[in-house]
């Protein structure tokens, strides 16, 4: 299967020697000169979609080529409204996570808390393209995914404080953000656990369309890290998603570190995007510190999934500015590496883009920042003032079935039938 569609986008003008993830330049054409155009300028041999010849696997088209082909020259990638939405979402993610750190060190938040600082471009770039009925599945680093998907800051903050007004009434915590309303399907502590669940949600979209004959083009986006890409479940799901052509996008947030284990020390071939074509889906590498590049790749991947052409694997090169969790002293990472990525802060980059392209001025962006600060502060006050869960909540919701006796022939719960004698099925 050709890897023609697996391109490497130019990264903030860095040369190929600096970037450890690129192959030595003898095996790749030289990178194009840096330009203000966000997107690939490299021309690639691609396979055209050929509907006349049905093949067992659908031919895959280079994502970048489509982006390049459909984008008219000399126009911007986003409108002012879109730009402000993206900016606000990233500022919300950043402020919220910073506030979490403060609250944790003050003892209001406890347990394991994993912060997303630095990776906002990935969450915003993908999730802001989704509808409410599309699903997102994440890992333990899920606060910002929940916020981008639409869960209110108050609900997330209360959940972190363990209060009854949290999105899971304080029963899930930092690592288990669930919201049925917003189709945020968790929040999983085990890495790799969310990938099959996301594949199942995508499976349901396809099943609804083909078996239940409903009008359903929902897609699912699964977020996970570089460490997960060495886990068996990842490969099992790449195989089945491509086999069943499921509407899913696998997004790797490659921040180069799995706690203290460097991606390069633990992976035989560190280029994760290459693993997509091995299973019959496009594999794309994108600069995850640039929200507009992420968004362009996301647009095509989501459109592909909605059209029924199957999954895409997107590797986002990104970085977490803080440690793995708030308990991580973060001693193994090199200060120079951190400084390099701090200089590529996605929020600063978007701000620069908006101002340079006259989409917004300082005052507008400042007012957004102020608005978000107030929102986050209000969320903290709300969470503080909220009560802890009542004692009776301990035993609730173990089963959906109120007493655990199952459903009777009439379709109602057996325990609702007054003639059914009560057993000791304590839930």
């Amino acid at each position: 299967m050709a890897t023609a569609f697996s391109a490497t986008l130019p990264l903030h003008g860095s040369s190929s020697q600096e970037n450890r993830l690129l192959l030595p330049s003898t095996r790749l054409p030289p990178p194009p000169p840096p330009s203000s155009f966000l997107g690939s300028t490299r021309s690639l041999p691609i396979r055209r979609l050929n509907h006349a010849h049905a093949s067992r696997r659908s031919p895959v088209v280079a994502v970048q080529e489509i982006v390049k082909a459909k984008k008219p020259t000399n126009s911007l990638l986003i409108t002012k409204e879109e730009g402000l939405v993206l900016y606000e979402d990233m500022i919300l993610g950043r402020s919220f996570e910073d506030m979490c750190a403060q609250m944790y060190y003050r003892g209001k938040m406890f347990g394991f808390v994993h912060l997303y600082n630095g990776q906002e471009a990935v969450s915003t770039g993908f999730i802001k393209l989704l509808t409410q009925s599309d699903s997102v599945v994440s890992t333990y680093r899920d606060h910002v995914h929940a916020l981008s998907k639409g869960v209110s800051a108050r609900a997330v903050m209360s959940e972190l404080f363990g209060k009854v007004t949290g999105c899971c009434r304080g029963q899930g915590g930092s690592m288990h953000m669930f919201s049925k309303e917003h189709n945020m399907l968790g929040g999983f502590a085990f890495i790799g656990e969310g990938i099959p669940v996301a594949t199942g949600a995508a499976f349901t979209s396809k099943y609804k369309r083909e078996v239940l004959k409903q009008d359903c083009d929902d897609v699912t986006v699964a977020f996970f890290g570089d460490g997960t890409c060495n886990n068996g479940q990842f490969y099992e799901c790449l195989n089945m998603a491509a086999l069943y052509k499921l509407p899913i996008i696998f997004v790797v947030e490659n921040n180069l570190w799995a706690i203290g284990m460097s991606h390069l020390r633990s992976t035989s071939d560190p280029e994760i995007w290459k693993k997509g074509p091995a299973f019959g889906m496009p594999g794309v590498h994108v600069d995850g510190m640039d929200v507009l590049k992420v968004r362009e790749v996301a647009k095509e991947a989501v459109a592909r999934a909605r059209r029924g052409e199957g999954p895409t694997l997107v590797e986002c090169e990104t970085y977490r500015f803080r440690g793995h969790s708030l308990a991580d002293p973060d001693e193994l990472r090199d200060a120079a590496e951190k400084a390099k990525y701090a200089a590529r802060d996605p929020i600063t980059a978007l701000k620069k883009y908006l101002i340079e392209n006259k989409l917004a001025n300082e005052a507008e962006l400042k007012s957004i920042e102020k608005k978000i600060d107030e929102l986050v502060e209000e969320a903290v006050e709300f969470a503080e003032a909220s009560p802890q869960p009542g004692r009776s909540q301990l035993l609730e919701n173990v089963f959906a079935d109120p007493k655990g006796f199952g459903i009777g022939p009439d379709g109602r719960y057996r325990c609702e039938d007054p003639k059914f004698t009560e057993g000791t099925a304590q839930v």
Binding site: S135, V137, C168, R169, Q171, G172, H176, F178, S179, K180, E181, L185, G186, G187, F188, F190, E193, I195, P196, V197, A198, T199, G200, A201, A202, F203, T204, S205, Y207, E210, V211, L212, G232, Q233, E236, C237, N239, M240, L243, E396, N397, V398, F399, A400, D401, K403, G404, F405, G406, I407, G408, P409, G411, R414, F420, G423, T424, A425, Q426, V427
Partner: protein, 364 residues
């Protein structure tokens, strides 16, 4: 090869594919139907009826489709419902179990088959962490109407890695319902209840019971028939000792009860049907009547289902007990291969008879 059983010359038998129950039927307390059905057909008909009643139900597992099921439980379903509802998966327990859980999150009702429950260990993260715990972690927002089914426990000569009983492991997890049918009526009723249920259900079948025929009533053959979860069945009334067990051991306990009856001991046999929620009320009511308890299971003894039953009875009915509680389980070793050692590693009818006599202070 799957499904090939060796003919055994032991009276604890019931291992032959072709043996049907005959004279012992009339001693049973349930409706004596004129029809007989194998457990295999009962399971097949249950899945078939639930799939036709609800288009959201689908089957997924290894060899469930074109192969007609590794143990032929899903025979005919592919032809009837097509490949969009009966999925032959690649050999990826973690992957396809997770896909089933994700599909259940999103509103479908998967029936995931494990070729044996030993293979479920490769997917146990999804059964426990993403299925069992989700309704609780999400505070009731996301329930998981999934059924995990397959043969559990020892078969005949399949060795240590294919013979473990997982009832105790799964039944210790809050958020799972764990069912273990014995007869064809149990199989039909409990599987139908499990598929309709809004919570994750672990359905532990037994390979050696698949070919056994049981009488089945007209009521049980009706397509709306289903049994309650969390309720045990008293298979045989008695007044001297209570024998509590589940799955294949119910058959052994019934044979033991007959032997005991010849010696004047009237044994009450309780078929648990549901390991979680455990029907403590029925067990304790029976022990309060007989004052003696013998529990039997096939699995490993330490931290087993029997341990839980004994603890429950001691906690709740201590002053009614006239003898120490008796617990019979499989030997505390991985299952050996040699036929005679395998027989020694599993409870036999004689063991149950001996334990019941000990409880009645009738042995030396």
């Amino acid at each position: 090869m799957w499904g090939i059983l060796r003919q055994r010359g032991i009276d604890g038998g019931g291992l032959s594919l072709r043996r049907t129950r005959s004279a012992s039927v009339s001693a049973r307390s349930y409706a004596a139907g004129s029809k007989e059905m194998t457990v295999r057909d009962a399971l097949n008909s249950a899945i078939d009826e639930e799939m036709s009643a609800d288009p959201k139900v689908f089957v997924m597992g290894e060899e469930v489709g074109q192969y007609q099921g590794a143990y032929k439980i899903t025979k005919g379903l592919l032809e009837k419902y097509g490949p969009e509802r009966v999925y032959d998966t690649p050999i990826t327990e973690a992957g396809f179990t997770g896909i089933g859980v994700g599909a259940a999150y999103a509103g479908l009702k998967p029936v995931v088959e494990f070729m044996t429950f030993n293979f479920s260990m490769q997917a146990i993260d999804h059964i426990i962490n993403s299925a069992a715990k989700s309704n609780y972690m999400s505070a009731g927002q996301i329930n998981v109407p999934i059924v995990f089914r397959g043969p559990n426990g020892a078969a005949a000569g399949v060795g240590a890695q294919h013979s473990q009983c997982y009832a105790a492991w799964y039944a210790s997890v809050p958020g799972l319902k764990v069912l273990a049918p014995y007869s064809a009526e149990d199989a039909r009723g409990l599987l139908k209840a499990a598929i309709r249920d809004p919570d994750p259900v672990v359905f532990l079948e037994n390979e050696l019971l698949y070919g056994e025929s049981f009488p089945i009533s007209e009521e049980a053959l009706d397509s709306s028939f289903c049994l309650p979860i969390g309720k045990a069945k008293i298979e045989r009334q008695g007044k001297d000792v209570t024998i509590v067990t589940f799955s294949k051991m119910v058959g052994f306990a019934l044979k033991a009860a007959e032997k005991l009856a010849e010696e004047g001991i009237s044994a009450e046999v309780i078929n648990l049907r549901s390991i979680r929620p455990l029907d403590r009320a029925t067990i304790n009511a029976s022990v309060r009547k007989t004052s003696r308890l013998v529990t039997v299971e096939e699995g490993f003894p330490q931290h087993g289902v029997c341990a839980e039953i004994c603890a429950s009875v001691v906690e709740e009915s201590f002053s009614y007990l006239d003898a120490p509680v008796e617990r019979i389980a499989g030997a505390d070793v991985p299952m050996p291969y040699a036929a005679n050692l395998e027989r020694l590693a599993l409870p036999q009818v004689e063991d149950i008879v001996r334990a019941a006599k000990r409880a009645c202070y009738r042995s030396k």
